[in-house]
């Protein structure tokens, strides 16, 4: 292994045989539901890397911090990881709000964050690698598919009330109206944590949209789908495309309540390729046969591998060098198939449409070409 003085010129927590990294997710609070998958996947990747000999001959040590679903806590813990633990990189965050809270810290202290969630875009930072998809990568191809396959003309947009659903819906509306020449017949946002959707469902019934386009997140998801089903809105009668349901959410909703609806994601657990089979097997071995893997979980898994690749390409743990080395890095072992880091620090990725089955898995019906990430899409703002 190269000497520490060479690979670490900025005083990070790197010794001759270890490198310390941080992991910053919510393991308590409302977001723990979603972030648990990322925590597990990142840990799995790190274990695998360590088993392969580590990074630049150094074993990875993890300091795990709990953001507790509270943005100021995220900022506090981020600062702690960077300032007092001097970690080499951080894998973390789920919600955009938590990312917005830590971003200034990462920029100020010059740290590196691997962020795994699909998000609204409108951001690009030297200090963040976005391993999930930005909005256009998730929305446009999906809408194209549904318009073509289902001959959909009218859409009803529903989301939780915060920036990601709102931005996503904004982009979706522009695409529907300007490109697909369809019509948005309703757009509604409900506060996070809402459990009652009776009135919304009635409104949808009244408008009879061809497609319900949904971005409801968190615990509200469960209520939303259970109540849809109870109101007789099932896939037999109604097309529904969501950008916020992964295998993780299905665990709570119950496959039978979602059967036949579509999700637009870049990854599904059921993807049929060698990388994914290995990944799923390893994941289940570590976390049990019952565990499931969603889109964000997979994106979380990419983080440590992408970081390893960047460190090795740069030959150094220094943040600036990793940041510079990252664009162009490709990953052949990615469960989603193949990924590559774009100069704007987002990943090239495919968009897939999955149809949910009773057993909680999705059947992949469509797969796009690799889509270039475009966090500041012209014409959609």
């Amino acid at each position: 292994a190269p000497p520490t003085s060479e690979v670490n010129t900025t005083g990070l927590a790197v010794t001759d045989d270890t490198v310390t990294v941080g992991q910053l997710h919510s393991s308590t609070g409302t977001m723990a539901i979603s972030e648990t998958g990322s925590i597990q996947a990142e840990q799995l990747a790190i274990d695998q890397i360590n088993a392969m000999g580590g990074v630049l001959g150094r074993q990875i040590k993890v300091i795990k911090e709990d953001g507790a679903s509270d943005w100021p806590t995220f900022a506090e813990k981020a600062k702690k990881l960077l300032v007092s633990d001097k970690v080499g990189t951080v894998f973390g965050c789920w919600t955009s709000a938590s990312r917005k809270a830590v971003l200034p810290v990462f920029e100020k202290e010059n740290g590196m964050l691997y962020y795994p969630t699909f998000y609204e875009g409108l951001e690009q930072s030297k200090n963040v690698i976005y391993t999930g998809q930005e909005a256009t990568q998730q929305i446009l191809a999906g809408l194209d598919w549904i318009a073509k396959e289902k001959k959909a003309k009218t859409y009803y947009l529903v989301g939780s009330d915060y920036i990601w659903p709102r931005t996503s819906m904004k982009i979706a509306r522009k695409h529907i109206e300007n490109v697909l020449k369809g019509k948005v017949v309703g757009e509604e946002f409900y506060a996070l944590g809402t459990t009652q959707f009776g009135s919304l469902i009635n409104k949808i019934k009244l408008k009879k949209p061809d497609v319900i386009y949904a971005a409801v997140v968190g615990g509200s998801n469960v209520s939303f789908y259970k109540q849809l089903k109870a109101a007789g809105i099932t896939s037999k009668k109604q097309t529904l495309l969501t950008i916020s349901v992964t295998e993780d959410e299905v665990l709570g909703i119950g496959g039978e309540n979602l059967e036949g609806f579509y999700s637009a994601m870049k990854y599904f657990q059921s993807l049929d390729n060698e990388n994914n089979k290995k990944f799923v097997a390893a994941f289940k071995e570590k976390y049990g046969e019952d565990s499931v893997i969603g889109d964000v979980t997979q994106a979380g898994y990419l983080g440590p591998w992408l970081w390893k690749a960047a460190v090795e390409k740069a030959g150094s743990f220094d943040i600036d060098k990793i940041a510079a080395a990252s664009p162009g890095i490709e990953l052949d072992i990615a469960p989603e198939g193949y990924v590559k880091i774009h100069p704007n620090h987002h990943l090239w990725s495919k968009l897939r449409i999955g149809q949910w089955q009773k057993d909680g898995q999705a059947k992949v019906l469509y797969e796009s070409e690799l889509i270039e990430p475009d966090p500041f899409p012209k014409g959609y703002q």
């Binding site: 509270d70 943005w71 100021p72 900022a75 600062k79 702690k80 919600t95 409108l122 009330d161 920036i163």
Partner: protein, 384 residues
């Protein structure tokens, strides 16, 4: 110090010593002992102390439990954040936006012009005033409306809780104007002075703590004047106070307003030290947490309540660092233990010391008959 004022502030010598030691701890020992990053955290914890002081007066002394103090903390914080955000959003650094010169989140929400209510927050003096006046006005209106109608007890608590919910939903629902759930982030400078640097954080720490002590002394002063006694009287027997000729609604409203002003200042200090503002610090849960801090520290004691903020948050940080999976058990048990064993919060431990002393004394003397009850100190008089 003028001895009369001194005696109004501190009833006993022990109290004065405790207060002084706390000042020494916060202003001298901690800054020397802690790295700036940790000191900054302490500063953040102590910004909740402003709220706690208000709660001591409002809840501990006057018996009015507000579960909506986060609203005022938030109002102060948002006022400050708006100023800082405008300063961070100069046309140069926001050049890539569709509309340069407005805060980034407005741009994301297709707002093309700075909303009118943001305009005045370009001025620091206005902002500084607004930090106190905005919470004050809102508290006064709500307080007057409620207290006038004799809404009290749990009704007041739940109405203020609903208020906290309304406020945080309002922020969420008006993302273009408020930054929504993300809050107002990436605050950088105050009149060109970079508040993110270590030296700035140190200075802000001292400013914030000094302000806190000033407010604490102010609160102590109030509790030891007649107003303080009226508060306790209202808590015990509201009706009687009314029939002693006091305007109970007014007294409560004023205290509620005062507590709101303190919370507003706390919010502003929080923003300056943490560097962003978000609805997650102003909703129901944080409002309850602020009550919890106060209760743990001791809702009857100004110093205790501040200490409560410090200790609970410090515990939260260290427990969660050391036992990421168990820390909630520890926090939960701590709260329960405090309730069970220290009815007056941690400050109650201090009260118990004389008790213990006499107990030990009795043991030593082996006297079977109990001593006469300890005589209370004679009331401070102004005769001399």
């Amino acid at each position: 110090m003028n001895s009369r004022i001194f005696r109004t502030l501190f009833k006993t010598k022990a109290e004065a010593i405790a207060f002084l030691s706390f000042i020494v701890l916060v202003l001298i020992i901690l800054p020397l002992a802690l790295p700036v990053f940790r000191l900054n955290l302490v500063g953040k914890y102590l910004s909740f102390g402003f709220v706690a002081i208000g709660l001591v007066l409002l809840w501990g002394k006057c018996g009015v439990l507000s579960l909506g103090q986060g609203v005022f903390f938030g109002l102060g914080g948002y006022c400050m954040a708006m100023f800082l955000k405008l300063e961070a959003s100069d046309p140069v650094s926001t050049a890539i936006q569709t509309t340069p010169g407005i805060p980034d989140f407005m741009d994301w929400n297709q707002i093309t012009e700075l909303p009118a209510f943001w305009e005045p927050f370009k001025s620091l003096p206005f902002t500084a005033a607004a930090v106190m006046i905005v919470p004050a006005i809102i508290a006064f209106i709500i307080g007057w409306a409620l207290f006038k109608r004799r809404v009290g007890g749990v009704y007041f608590a739940i109405i203020t809780q609903a208020m906290a919910l309304i406020f945080s939903l309002g922020i969420d629902g008006n993302q273009g104007l408020t930054g929504g759930r993300n809050g107002i982030t990436d605050l950088r400078t105050l009149w060109g002075w970079d508040i993110r640097t270590e030296s700035a954080q140190q200075i802000l720490y001292f400013v914030s703590c000094t302000l806190l002590f000033v407010c604490a002394l102010g609160a102590k002063y109030i509790t030891n004047t007649r107003l303080g006694r009226v508060l306790v009287a209202i808590r015990d027997r509201e009706e009687r106070v009314r029939f002693s000729g006091y305007d109970v609604a007014m007294v409560r409203t004023v205290i509620f307003t005062f507590a709101a002003i303190l919370s507003g200042i706390g919010g502003a200090m929080f923003v300056l030290q943490v560097g962003f503002m978000s609805p997650s610090i102003v909703g129901i849960v944080p409002s309850i947490e602020m009550v919890i801090f106060t209760a743990v520290g001791g809702r009857l004691s100004v110093l205790g309540a501040i200490l409560g903020c410090l200790i609970v948050n410090f515990g939260k940080t260290t427990f969660s660092e050391a036992y990421p999976d168990l820390w909630l058990y520890l926090m939960g048990s701590t709260f329960i233990a405090v309730v069970m064993f220290f009815p007056n919060g941690l400050a109650g431990i201090l009260d118990k010391i004389p008790d213990l002393k006499t107990k030990i004394g009795n043991l030593v003397k082996r006297s079977s008959k109990p001593s006469t009850p300890p005589t209370a100190p004679t009331p401070i008089s102004d005769e001399n």
